[in-house]
Symmetry: C2
Subunit: 167 residues, 2 copies
């Protein structure tokens, strides 16, 4: 992202390749890590959203359902912090999942202000279906990479994603 930007400098003057946008691949923007991460995520989440629509879910609600089904008994506050979402958005997401009988709110006995979210049996089944869909979509999005490269990418991303917490 730094001095490496002009390592992949422009491929001479554009031959005005008519309608193709491939020529923009050589732009500086197309070599910025953040732009690439945004585009990669966009490619993946678009497909995931399309597939999840069959279960009336989106990546957002799937993420909540996944954490609720993790066995870690998250509170709404924890869901908000972990997903970088405002608590008020969690309310809406949990409302949706609760309305369809996938999750339940229950007061934390140790702090009755806190709602612990747990899955129902139907919620667990829904998650199993959704997880398979998301995994398939992810495999498709990463089909350009070998298994080893996928592991590599995931590990690098994890270190960036949690850099502030892990120091």
């Amino acid at each position: 992202m730094t001095e490496t930007a002009h390592r992949t400098a422009r491929v001479s003057t554009p031959p005005a390749a008519e309608t193709g946008i491939e020529r923009l691949y050589s732009s500086e923007l197309a070599n910025e890590t953040e732009f690439l991460a945004a585009r990669a995520r966009s490619v993946g989440s678009r497909r995931a959203n399309e597939e999840l629509a069959a279960l009336d879910l989106k990546v957002r609600s799937y993420s909540v359902l996944s954490l609720v089904c993790s066995g870690l008994n998250p509170s709404q506050r924890e869901l908000a912090e972990f997903l970088f979402l405002d608590p008020s958005q969690i309310v809406a997401l949990v409302d949706q999942l609760e309305k369809r009988g996938a999750v339940k709110r229950k007061a934390d006995p140790r702090d009755r202000r806190s709602n612990i979210i747990t899955p129902t049996a139907a919620g667990k089944r829904l998650y199993a279906e959704a997880a398979a869909i998301v995994q398939a979509a992810g495999d498709h999005a990463l089909s350009a990479l070998s298994p080893a490269e996928r592991d590599q990418l995931r590990d690098l991303l994890r270190r960036v994603a949690f850099a502030d917490q892990q120091g």
Copy 2:
């Protein structure tokens, strides 16, 4: 602008395993590449947006400005396709940049339906300032990685981001 207000409560709290959300790192979701990409991008673009606000820009408008200043003379249609944005959104973004004198529209002599967007001198100066900010924000976001690892991450992301075009 104070979007992190709800997230600033953990400043002086000791690493107590009770209230922390670190326990959610072990969830399945935290090991999904797509989730990690979304979170990594969120970390980076939040900072970039905060810094770019000093220039009255956002990552969205910066991306347009960057492509316009690349010397590749993109049309609005090309900007839309490359940035995964609707053409109508490009209209608004180019309007903003044109209104502040950073870019100009000019009809493509070979197809007068098409608007070729070019930077003004002021636009080039604005881009130079913005690029430095974005680069600094990117370096900060990737500070957990070594230079070699950053290259590795960028190359892996590029292959994923352009997998459909490159085959």
